[in-house]
């Protein structure tokens, strides 16, 4: 059984900006452990001769030539924004700088 405890879930929830109740944290700790174990079973199927991959298709070097394509107008870009000002997206002040 993978060791995913309640604190791990609370930590992940905080990182992901997801608010979770105490009850949800308890339940998720159990569920996540099962999920991680299930995924882990894949490594039992793959032997040492199978390298880890991040992509299902064995492709490399898919490139685009450096040629300008289409853009949005500012109006289009902002059409889905909850709020805007001066052709820019307007967001609440966020103190925690990245």
């Amino acid at each position: 059984m993978a060791a995913i405890n309640r604190d791990d879930v609370a930590h992940l929830a905080r990182l992901a900006h997801i608010e979770m109740s105490a009850q949800e944290l308890d339940r998720m700790a159990g569920e996540l452990a099962v999920i991680v174990d299930s995924v882990k079973s894949v490594s039992e199927a793959a032997g040492d001769d199978v390298p880890a991959t991040s992509h299902p298709i064995p492709l490399t070097n898919v490139f685009r030539e450096d040629v300008v394509g289409h853009t949005f107008s500012a109006e289009q870009a902002l059409s889905g924004a909850p709020d805007s000002d001066d052709n820019r997206f307007k967001v609440p002040a966020i103190l925690d700088e990245a």
């Binding site: 991040s54 070097n61 685009r64 030539e65 394509g69 000002d85 052709n87 990245a98």
Partner: protein, 502 residues
């Protein structure tokens, strides 16, 4: 503003040994962005150089810009790095409005370039080797403007406005290994290192390299340890250090601040510091916390980049002459002394002098104009010499007029002022301002007679063979003609008059 206690730099150096580290972000000057075909252009109307990829809309797929990869490999090669045969992009997760996807596409454990070095030349010619840990590819974030509040800073802001034109602009982040052994030259080395990186990427043609536009940005890590101790101290990372002068000042300030903290017996806090150009101090940003848990994982929407050795060698063959080697060649070609050449380099007019010589000036004339006339004017105007807008052709024209005896050096300097003030071509300004050397010997002889009569003792000395005393008489004539005489001709006439051969 800052309430930090600091030690004097000298005292800090007596007690502690600084260790530096730099992360320099270089914006590539590709036509399009790293993962989208939107234009990579500075200064356009907000949110017009964006498309669905830059805005992180659901279901969109990034596609890597081939030119950006090639530029990154070139930077790696110019920094004497190894180029990864195989590398991937990774997602760096964080929530901040400058990154609409909620992750930045970057590279994590597989940078495209690694294990390099850069030999950095300090002002007195000392060469210091800076080891490069890695250079990796990533994308720039959007630009936030904090509104409301008194300072325009984030503290106290009511809201922020976001322009995503910069989001997705290709970046190469160059990370050094810890730099030890710089001692009291640490601030100078910091400046010289960033200058050297900027010079390299500009020389490669892969970046516009304008620090004032943020094309080259530096985060400076500083830590101190007592002399003789091997283990590093706790470091601070100063962000927003975006001019060469600021890099030097920020490193110096952080050394002084750390020293005072350590002296008080407190530990240095590992944190981000913000540089303030106005007060030349740093303020605390935020402490490193679990928010720095970026949960990198390989970007599933992009396939790996494989740089075949053939491709790398092809790119290597296109690299221009490295700046340091170019300097050696130019110094030999121009015949400048060590000191003359170093002054030219430090004044930042190497390109300008090269262009002026290419336009037809001799090496000594080009140096005389740039170092003697233009650098001083630039300093007074607080701009880089190259930004004054002096054209090489103007210098060539002015020096031809001086050689032809049409104007003297003093007038030529006035004509340059006129050119910079937009009064026209040198020819026109000479005409308009009535600047022309008085070469009518009659008028000169009259002034010479007067000057000799005014200083009979000097005239006697010259007759007696003390030719070096002639300056006083020449000076009198120049004064009488309001500087419009050809000093060389005046000298000849005086000697002739007094029957002395020089």
């Amino acid at each position: 503003m800052s309430t930090d206690t600091i030690l004097s730099f000298e005292e800090a150096m007596e007690k502690y040994d600084p260790v530096l580290g730099f992360e320099v972000h270089v914006e590539l000057n590709t036509k399009t962005k790293m993962f989208s075909s939107a234009p990579n252009v500075f200064g356009d109307e907000p949110n017009t150089n964006v498309n669905e990829v830059d805005l992180g809309m659901p279901g969109v797929l990034p596609v890597v810009n081939k030119t950006a990869i090639e530029s990154s490999i070139k930077i790696g090669l110019a920094l004497n790095c190894k180029i990864a045969e195989y590398c991937r992009f990774s997602r760096k997760q964080y929530f901040y409005p400058d990154t609409p996807k909620n992750f930045q596409t970057s590279q994590y454990d597989e940078p495209i370039a690694y294990d390099g070095y850069l030999d950095v030349e300090l002002e007195d010619g000392t060469v210091f080797r800076v080891e490069i840990e890695r250079a990796h590819m990533e994308e720039d974030a959007g630009k936030l403007t904090h509104m409301g509040g008194a300072t325009g800073r984030i503290q106290g802001a009511d809201f922020s406005l976001v322009d995503y034109n910069r989001a997705g602009v290709p970046l190469v982040e160059i990370v050094t290994k810890p730099i030890e052994g710089a001692g009291s030259r640490a601030p100078e080395l910091a400046k010289a290192y960033v200058a050297a990186v900027r010079e390299i990427v500009k020389n490669l043609g892969v970046s516009d390299a304008k620090m004032e536009r943020g094309n080259v940005r530096c985060d400076a890590n500083v830590s101190l340890r007592p002399h003789g101790r091997e283990r590093f101290g706790i470091r601070s990372e100063t962000k927003n250090v975006n001019s060469l002068r600021a890099v030097e000042h920020a490193v110096r300030y952080e050394i002084q601040r750390h020293a005072a903290v350590l002296d008080s017996g407190e530990p240095v806090i590992q944190e981000t510091r913000h540089w303030h150009e106005d007060t030349r101090t740093t303020t605390s940003g935020r402490a490193k916390s679990d928010a720095d848990d970026y949960r990198y994982f390989p970007e599933p929407d992009l396939v790996p980049v494989v740089a075949s050795r053939e491709w790398v060698e092809e790119l290597r063959a296109t690299l221009p002459e490295p700046p340091a080697e170019r300097r050696k060649r130019l110094k030999a070609d121009w015949g400048y002394s060590d000191l003359e050449f170093r002054d030219v380099v430090n004044a930042g007019v190497l390109d300008e002098i090269e262009e002026t010589i290419a336009a037809g000036a001799t090496a000594s004339v080009a140096r005389k104009w740039w170092m003697g006339e233009i650098v001083g004017r630039a300093k007074a105007a607080d701009v880089d010499p190259g930004q004054l807008g002096v054209q090489p052709a103007t210098i060539v024209e002015l020096s031809k007029m001086v050689e032809a005896g049409k104007i003297n050096n003093k007038m030529a300097s006035q004509v340059l002022d006129g050119v910079l003030a937009g009064e026209g071509t040198p020819e026109e300004i000479v005409e308009k301002r009535g600047l022309a050397v008085v070469s009518d010997d009659g008028a000169l002889l009259e002034a010479i007679d007067a000057a000799l009569a005014a200083q009979p003792d000097v005239a006697e000395k010259i007759r007696g063979g003390k030719v070096q005393a002639i300056g006083a008489i020449v000076g009198g004539v120049m004064k009488a003609t309001r500087g419009q005489a050809d000093a060389g001709r005046v000298r000849e006439l005086i000697l002739e008059k007094l029957g002395v051969t020089a």
